[in-house]
Amino acid sequence: MPIHTHRSYDGQTLTIKIEGRFDFSTHQAFRDAYEHGDENVDSFIVDLSNTTYLDSSALGMLLLLRDYAGGDRARIRIENCNSDVRRILSISNFEQLFAIR
């Protein structure tokens, strides 16, 4: 389950793209993806277009990212979820914590 990151031209938005399953086995790579980033980054996009499945530990990881990015002030968008992933996010009421598109 490779994780790719991509910085926007102005360097302020970091896109984290997760391929395949987003579950416990991803946690270290996911943390690495944002923790060793540039300090200029002030917003995040989690691109789930190639994510087939997301489990409860991934939900925890998203919260880790959220706290890292400033908690309630965090600017994080979760994008391109498939319907299964979308349903898990919505069952968990993550719309209240993230901008999900």
């Binding site: 416990f24 530990s57 890292y68 319907s83 299964d84 898990i88």
Partner: protein
Amino acid sequence: MDDPLPENRPLRILIADDSDSDRLILKTLLRRLGHKVEDAENGLEAVNIFRKSAPDIVLLDALMPVMDGMEAARQIKVLAGEQLVPLIFLTSLSDAGALARCLEAGGDDFLTKPYNRIIIEAKINAFNRMRLMHRTLSHHRDLIRERNSKLLEEQEIAKRVFDNVAHTGCLDAPNIRFHASPMSIFNGDVLFACPRPAGGMQILIGDFTGHGLPAAIGAMPVAEIFYGMTSKGFSGSDVLREINQKLGRILPTGMFCCAAMIQADFHLNQLQIWNGGLPDGVLLRKDGMRETVVSRHLPLGVVGNARFDAGMEVFHTEPGDTLLMMTDGVMEAENRQGEMYGEQRLIRSLDEMSRQESPFETIMSGIRTFTGNQPEQDDLTLITLRMAEDAELAGISDRLPQSALEGPAEWRCVYEVQDRTLGQFSPLPLLLHICMEVPGLRRKSGEIYTLLAELYSNALEHGVLGLCSDWKATPDGFGHYYAERERRLADVAGHFIRFTLTHTMTGQGGRLAIVCEDSGSGFDFSRTRLEAGDERRYSGRGLLLIQKIGRSLNYREHGTKAEIVYDWYFSEVAGREGSTTQQPGGWS
């Protein structure tokens, strides 16, 4: 056609003449030419001989006692029936009227006395050629007749087979009106409608290039795929992709199927439409506005699935809106002058339609008026679908083809993962696969996977490995948790996780009970569970997911045994109703 009938035998010739000497001369002459000859002294005797031995050619004296040649000729022609038996009159008559009467009586020619050997031989040969030609033609006609009737019989049987595959589905629903050429087989048009298990219906209207058997053979798998997949809950796009792939493989290049897929949801009041090569459809709004549903896609069977676009266009509707779709037979219906009905006339008749009229009747009567009494042009298919209220269509989905219920309905399966395998292998795909054998559960694969996955990771992490969720309270703890998980997985000897799945049918769907047991020392699930107010905790979400998806979740035996009951419904409406009357799953 078959080989011409061989005939090398000598001709059998009957001579009737009351003059002994004339008869003898003729008989000797014909025998010398190699023919077999029988003779009679008068017409009656000739008829009797003909009846007995059916000679090939008859030579009749016109004037004889007892029965003259004219009467004998009439009777012989009747006896010969469809066979051509050349009748040649022997006569010394020369007046035109008498000769004409001979031919009217059924004679084919005359020979005038005295006999000329060369003329006789030439005439016999000429008539024999005619006789053989007639025989060959009749034989071929009989063969064609026989083969044609066999072909019709086979087509009749093929049509019955096709009808069984392509049964009418829900074309008789109160909100559908359609005209399809006789069940549409053998002319290249197809029209199918099928209720969806989640409510609503799916309709496929199509037009194969070409006619007859090749088109009908293409229609068979289309019907099979359409009804099979629709009744299992697959979306229009999924069904289109499958059909496209199938047709791409079986149809010769140059043959394809122009089609439209309509997915109607009466609950959400929404139409999803895919039009690949059919004439513009029309969405007639209740308020009189019209929208066209243009073809944006290639017909089915033209490009491979990599390039195939099965994306459906969404139309939001209101009850009373009506969708009209047709094959190009409607546009191409011809009148007596050979003009085509065409789009202009269609639009005009919709313009002139009164509020009370149904679009279906309007267009059908427009076409009938235009084409006049022309014999029905047979590849003309037209359907209107009115957006109805849910209630009007109650019961439609009960008529899902039987295949929706096929597959294992009542079963139980125990699967236990032991020892080292716990750390190396995920039993989830296998378990999911078993559940997906139940057609009604296929639509729910995402939810079932989540249930299985969360139960498994709880049993493994908290049960077998004894990991504590509390560690996940901090980012570093999170890392620690998973590092510890990895470390402890190395030593799971003697441990197991056992899934017991039980599926049963209920009136409105089915129930899947999942029990997950582990060999751990149990865990305090109440501590692992997410309490109200700590939504932002990093852990504890698994149980919440399970609880919201399943109908109930119970932990027994100190947390080593989790039980979930998951109900599914044939129709989403039943599911929604069900969930309001039943208590949501709770904790015990």
